[in-house]
């Protein structure tokens, strides 16, 4: 197994704005993340942090450059391989939780496993175990709108872990939460990292940056040394 899990080489992202000048939001990004690292990405609003991790997480494509995951160039993958990557290798946690509103907590956590055709009984067991571990054992049949923000984010974390991914990408996971819940979630991410998972965390909060072993600062679409 190679030591580098993610390698970004000369990635640019440009939005065509029609009549006005194109908007270049990522410029010449080069970044290598080692297996088991905990990286915090920080920088001013609008600097391109989300854009960058979306490209790393195969949700978006770069305009130029290559992204390697386990030495494989994901910019060249087919749609269905990318979908599998999003389901199996990467776990995403969003600021707005992004749970499916008409499914229960349990069903939301089971969905990534069912998408890659896991056995239903096994998926259910895994989902229950994860939800219990996140302190939601008594809330598994609740719909997202019957849960508090912190509870919803914990369901989202359980979902991101469903297929036991190698990389966790968390884009301001505590942005909408109070500091106590935020601390619980950060501690949980820290624990995941000490169990060997690679964690990429976007945050504005300087208090949270301290959880990371490495900080990447982005400004105006460039990584500042």
């Amino acid at each position: 197994m190679k030591n580098d899990i993610i390698r970004i080489e000369n990635v640019w992202k440009k939005y065509d704005m029609g009549s006005v000048e194109p908007l270049v939001v990522l410029k010449e990004i080069n970044l290598t993340i080692k297996r088991g690292e905990f990286v915090a990405i920080t920088g001013p609003s609008g600097s391109g942090k989300s854009t960058m991790v979306n490209i790393v997480g195969a949700l978006d494509k770069p305009s130029w450059g290559s992204v390697y995951l386990d030495d494989e160039n994901i910019s060249k993958m087919s749609e269905s391989s990318l979908a599998f990557l999003r389901g199996k290798t990467i776990g995403f946690i969003f600021q707005q939780f992004n749970l499916l509103p008409n499914l229960s907590a349990l069903e939301n956590v089971m969905l990534p496993m069912e998408i890659i055709d896991q056995d239903e009984k096994k998926s259910r067991e895994t989902a229950e175990k994860l939800l219990t571990k996140l302190g939601l054992g008594d809330r598994i049949n609740h719909k997202p709108n019957e849960l508090s923000g912190g509870q919803q984010q914990r369901v989202a974390i359980a979902r991101s872990l469903a297929n036991d991914p190698e990389v966790i990408i968390a884009d301001e996971p505590t942005g909408n939460l109070d500091s106590k819940t935020g601390k619980f979630i950060m501690d949980f991410l820290g624990e995941l990292n000490s169990n060997g998972k690679t964690v990429i965390l976007i945050t504005h909060d300087l208090d949270l940056v301290k959880y990371a072993k490495r900080i990447v600062y982005i400004k105006d679409g460039r990584i500042e040394k």
Partner: protein, 415 residues
């Protein structure tokens, strides 16, 4: 993703759908209901028509003496020679035993019956009336006739001075006074009533007896010949065959000398059927338009539903759903909308057509019971369901395809 899971998710979307989707479903319900009831009503009307025409004897051709076409000789010639064995005589105008024998062996001919008819005075107790008397061949009459018995029996070969009376004659003309096995008098001769028909004004008696009762009817001669055929579909061919054979046996070489005519009731039927088919087609077209409107409704609902679900599609893609999973979920969803609409439409359509059938039969008071019955065949119901499912899927195809092609980040950013 497994089909079952896609199905569950599609179902989940359906049951959580907004009022708008249910309004679309109502559109489909009305469309399908209209189609189901229109088809069942027009099929029922057609069936009814066929039954009634059948009871008039669609399969009975009648050969009568004389030529009915304008260019031919008019009327029957009752004064023809008594001896029918002297054939190939140009003067022979009436129908004879020989003609009956000729017809008996033709293709598609089931029964042949010669009959004589005329007017006679009938008396029961003090009441006297002029009636139409028909002499029938006792051996085939009950096989050929569409009349039904109200009481008693048809004539049999051992009958001599026995009659069967038309029901209306008994009920109306003789005011219900004639009992079964009662004695009546016709042209001075006494008869026993062995049967009474459900309907009609006629008096039926054995051929030979009728010949003695009626004037102007020679031995071995018939006023008309009824031919019952096997297959109504080829009635026209059979008419042609009968004409050819009779012309040959009667020694007629030229068409304009033909001294008999053959009636074909199925021709008239065909005209009537054409009319009802045109009517069904017209009503069906209206129903099809309402279905089309329903389908556009589904497409519209699907487009907005996909738009509403954009964020959820983004979420599903972010956790690993492939394009084809999303496509399948939304196709199944629109198929379900169609199917639910179809089910509702069938229920409403069955209800509606039954109601119309009920009204039809009570309003028209039994006489012209055109819409008095409806035909709800399993084929129609299954067809309607399949049709609504397919309409749903076609209407949902483009929106579902668009949903599947959404870029995950763009979909996630959608508010």
């Amino acid at each position: 993703m497994k089909l079952k899971k896609c199905f569950n998710l599609a179902w989940n979307i359906l049951i959580h759908s907004k009022l708008r989707s249910w309004l679309t479903i109502i559109g489909i319900i009305i469309g399908i209901a209209a189609v189901v009831s229109i088809i069942s009503i027009s099929q029922g009307a057609q069936q009814q028509l066929e039954d009634r025409l059948g009871s008039l004897g669609a399969d009975i051709l009648t050969v009568s003496p004389g030529f009915s076409k304008a260019s031919g000789p008019m009327g029957g010639f009752r004064e023809g020679p008594m001896d029918s064995d002297s054939d190939s005589s140009d003067e022979q105008k009436n129908l004879t035993v020989k003609d009956v024998l000729v017809l008996k062996n033709l293709d598609n001919v089931k029964y042949v019956m010669g009959q004589v008819s005329g007017k006679g005075e009938m008396t029961y107790l003090s009441k006297t009336a002029s009636v139409s008397v028909t002499g029938v061949d006792e051996s085939v009459w009950k096989d050929i006739t569409y009349d039904e018995l109200a009481s008693g029996r048809f004539l049999v070969q051992s009958d001599f001075f026995s009659v069967v009376l038309g029901g209306r004659l008994v009920e109306t003309t003789f005011e219900n006074k004639i009992p079964l096995n009662g004695k009546i008098t016709i042209e001075g001769k006494s008869f026993k009533v062995v049967g009474i028909l459900a309907d009609g004004n006629g008096v039926y008696m054995p051929l030979d007896i009728a010949r003695t009762v009626l004037e102007d009817v020679g031995e071995e001669e018939f006023s008309s010949i009824s031919v019952k055929i096997e297959d109504v579909e080829i009635a026209n061919e059979t008419v042609g065959l009968i004409e050819k054979k009779l012309m040959f046996s009667r020694g007629i070489l030229n068409e304009k000398n033909v001294d008999f005519s053959v009636s074909n009731p199925s021709e008239m039927q065909a005209t009537i059927q054409e009319t009802t088919q045109t009517m069904s087609l017209f009503l069906g077209a209206i129903a099809a338009i309402s279905l089309l409107v329903g389908a556009i409704g589904i497409a519209n609902t699907m487009f907005t539903s996909v738009l509403e679900k954009t964020k959820e599609i983004g979420i599903m893609k972010a956790i690993g759903a492939k394009n084809k999973d999303v496509l399948l979920i939304f196709l199944l969803n629109s198929g379900m909308i169609g199917l639910v609409g179809g089910l509702g439409g069938i229920i409403l359509g069955v209800f509606g057509s039954t109601l119309i059938g009920y009204w039809g039969s009570t309003l028209s008071g039994g006489e012209s019971r055109m819409f008095g019955s409806t035909a709800l065949t399993p084929e129609l119901l299954i067809g309607a369901l399949l049709f609504s499912l397919i309409i749903g899927m076609i209407a949902g195809a483009i929106p579902a395809y668009r949903a599947s092609k959404l870029n995950p980040v763009d979909a996630l950013r959608y508010q």
